[in-house]
């Protein structure tokens, strides 16, 4: 009983520390916003506004208040879901972001599936063959994926697989021809097209998705591979693995029926973290593939200097990161019989 209460306390403490981190996150984005050399009032009122209008807007934005007071206002806005409006679309920023998010989630989810399958199988292969040629090969292959500038690999892959070989779709989420054909219900094109029964659109979408997702997955697999390898090596040195071998299980059975179960929880954790850092690659690869997602939204607003939009994006990435951390913790508690 005491044990259980302690565990709950630990969880509450964790939530508390997450709240503090979130607050810090907001502070950080707030102050980065203030660093800006661009004058937000000038941007709003235009170059030839009178001094009065300028002052008026200045005051209405609360810029005459001390910094901490401005922060409190900002905090209040954010907590009520008000992240400001976008200069470009005139819509609330958060609405814009929610609109582009599914495209990125679709891409990132596909990518993490590819990355996890690749990373886990390569990691196991490397661990089982430690210090022999498959291990070295896996190491070089995965470091290679980790070292490539993904925006460049994206271009090269487009030239090779799309322009020359014609194996996959080019940029965008689907062929030009299909745009607007499927009603936007969930925002996930694969799901929407299936729901609408438009198989052509579905295949086109899949065809466009596969290349950027594969590249993203490959680049994220390095970390998964390395961690899988080291987790697996840990397990293979354990006595229960010997027990399984003594019972007459083959090496393959030992790995998948015994050792793998013991690294599953750790794997979930690092895959969740890898998913978060996929967002980084997504920003670049979306630019290359003209993928109408979060990354493209972020970069296009960066270029026009819309700080509201940019800071909200940054904030959201931070929140996703923290959320994934929390999620992996929760999964840990659920999956491991020792913590049950």
């Amino acid at each position: 009983m005491l044990f259980r209460r302690l565990r709950v306390a630990g969880f509450a403490g964790q939530l508390g520390s997450i709240a503090i981190t979130l607050l810090g996150l907001l502070m950080l984005t707030f102050f980065i916003g203030r660093l800006m050399p661009v004058d937000p009032v000038r941007a709003m009122v235009g170059e030839d506004a009178t001094r009065e209008t300028y002052e008026q807007v200045y005051a209405s934005l609360g810029l005459d208040r001390p910094l901490y007071e401005q922060f409190v206002y900002y905090l209040g806005d954010v907590l009520t879901g008000d992240f400001g409006t976008s200069i470009r679309t005139g819509q609330p920023v958060i609405q814009d972001i929610l609109h582009v998010m599914p495209a990125t989630i679709e891409l990132a989810t596909f990518a993490i599936i590819i990355g996890a399958l690749l990373g886990v199988s390569m990691g196991v292969l490397a661990a089982v063959n430690k210090d022999r040629w498959p291990d070295h090969l896996v190491r070089v292959f995965s470091l290679f994926g980790h070292s490539m500038p993904i925006f460049w690999t994206g271009m090269i892959a487009l030239i090779v697989f799309y322009a020359h070989l014609g194996l996959v779709g080019g940029s965008g989420r689907m062929d030009q021809f299909y745009i607007g054909l499927v009603e936007d219900r969930t925002g996930f094109l694969l799901i929407d097209s299936l729901m609408a029964g438009e198989m052509d659109v579905f295949w086109s979408a899949l065809n466009h998705l596969i290349l950027p997702a594969a590249l993203l997955g490959y680049s994220s697999s390095a970390y998964i591979t390395r961690m899988t390898r080291s987790f697996m090596l840990d397990q293979l040195g354990q006595e229960y693995v010997t027990t399984a071998r003594v019972k007459g299980l083959s090496q393959r059975q030992t790995i998948w029926l015994h050792a793998f179960g013991n690294i599953r929880v750790q794997l979930v954790t690092i895959i969740a973290l890898a998913y978060g850092s996929l967002l980084e690659g997504a920003v670049l690869i979306e630019t290359v593939f003209a993928w109408p997602g979060f990354g493209q939204y972020l970069t296009s607003n960066l270029i026009i200097g819309d700080m509201n939009a940019v800071m909200t994006c940054v904030l959201i990435v931070g929140v996703i990161f923290i959320g994934l951390n929390l999620l992996s913790d929760i999964l840990y508690r659920i999956f491991d019989p020792r913590t049950r």
Partner: protein
């Protein structure tokens, strides 16, 4: 001594990456009897045990003879070896805390041995496992079946281990310090269970241990190892008549209840014992 089930001649083992041999020419034979292997830490006892099951990845094993029943263990393919391990020869490992898979139910791990080697339904394997758990004197076997390793005690864990390793009715069991991780109070209990099962079923036993007294009570014959070699082989009852100075040293270093209160003798090691033909 009836038919020999294990014949080992001039066994040599070198670990990958090591320049010296960990086992340097060990020879012995074994019938349906209980053989003890005793020696100080690092003398190569476990290495011999694992080599018999061919569980030393990366190590080089050579021998003039390594015959188990009718099979030559050295030339057996890995696939055929899988049929030997667990089914005909098995091994009880030292510490139940580490040698059971922490995230699988105890009973499933026991039943797995049966499922691996016999064509049968899960339910059948389950029944066999429960019966075996009862045979190692576990009360409420059905309940223990469903528990995880961290939920059972060390003595119970080691009995589970014994059940798991005897379930497929092997001809030879190697017990590598089966009780050294246990509390002194449950040691005897676990050993007695192991002993009676081995006797009843006529299983050959190799018991690896540090403890001369224990080996003396539970074995028929004792092999004394030092630095990868067998220095002496004795009947357990004749242990006191050991001729080799190392064995005598080992005996002298054993504390005895009611013995003299002098300081225990310190083992004397002589470099000439290390030589090839010592």
């Amino acid at each position: 001594m009836e038919k020999t089930i294990l014949d080992v001649q001039n066994l040599r083992i070198r670990y990958g990456g090591s320049t010296t041999e960990a086992v340097r020419g060990v020879s012995f034979t074994l019938g349906r009897e209980r053989l003890g292997i005793v020696g100080e830490s690092g003398s190569g006892k476990s290495t011999v045990g694992r080599a018999l099951l061919r569980l030393l990845p990366g190590a080089t094993i050579t021998a003039d003879m390594l015959r188990f029943d009718e099979v030559d263990l050295l030339s057996l393919s890995e696939k055929e070896m899988l049929k030997v391990r667990g089914r005909r020869m098995s091994m009880i490992l030292q510490d139940p805390k580490f040698s059971l898979n922490p995230i699988r139910r105890v009973g499933d791990q026991v039943a797995e041995t049966y499922l691996r080697h016999f064509k049968c339904s899960r339910r059948e394997a389950h029944e066999k496992a429960v019966a075996m758990l009862e045979a190692v004197k576990i009360r409420d076997a059905e309940r223990v079946f469903k528990q995880y390793p961290h939920e059972i005690s060390g003595g119970m864990g080691q009995r589970v281990m014994i059940a798991m390793m005897l379930l497929a009715d092997p001809d030879l069991v190697i017990a590598d310090e089966p009780t050294s991780a246990l509390d002194v109070t449950v040691r005897l209990q676990v050993l007695t269970i192991l002993d009676s099962l081995v006797r009843d079923r006529g299983i050959g036993l190799i018991m690896i241990s540090h403890d001369l007294n224990l080996v003396r009570n539970f074995c028929d014959r004792v092999l004394i190892m030092y630095a990868g070699k067998v220095v002496e082989t004795l009947k357990a009852v004749e242990l006191d008549q050991a001729r080799h100075p190392y064995t005598q040293g080992l005996l002298a270093a054993q504390p005895r209840i009611g013995g003299t209160r002098q300081p225990l003798a310190v083992l004397d090691r002589r470099p000439e014992w290390l030589e090839e033909n010592a």
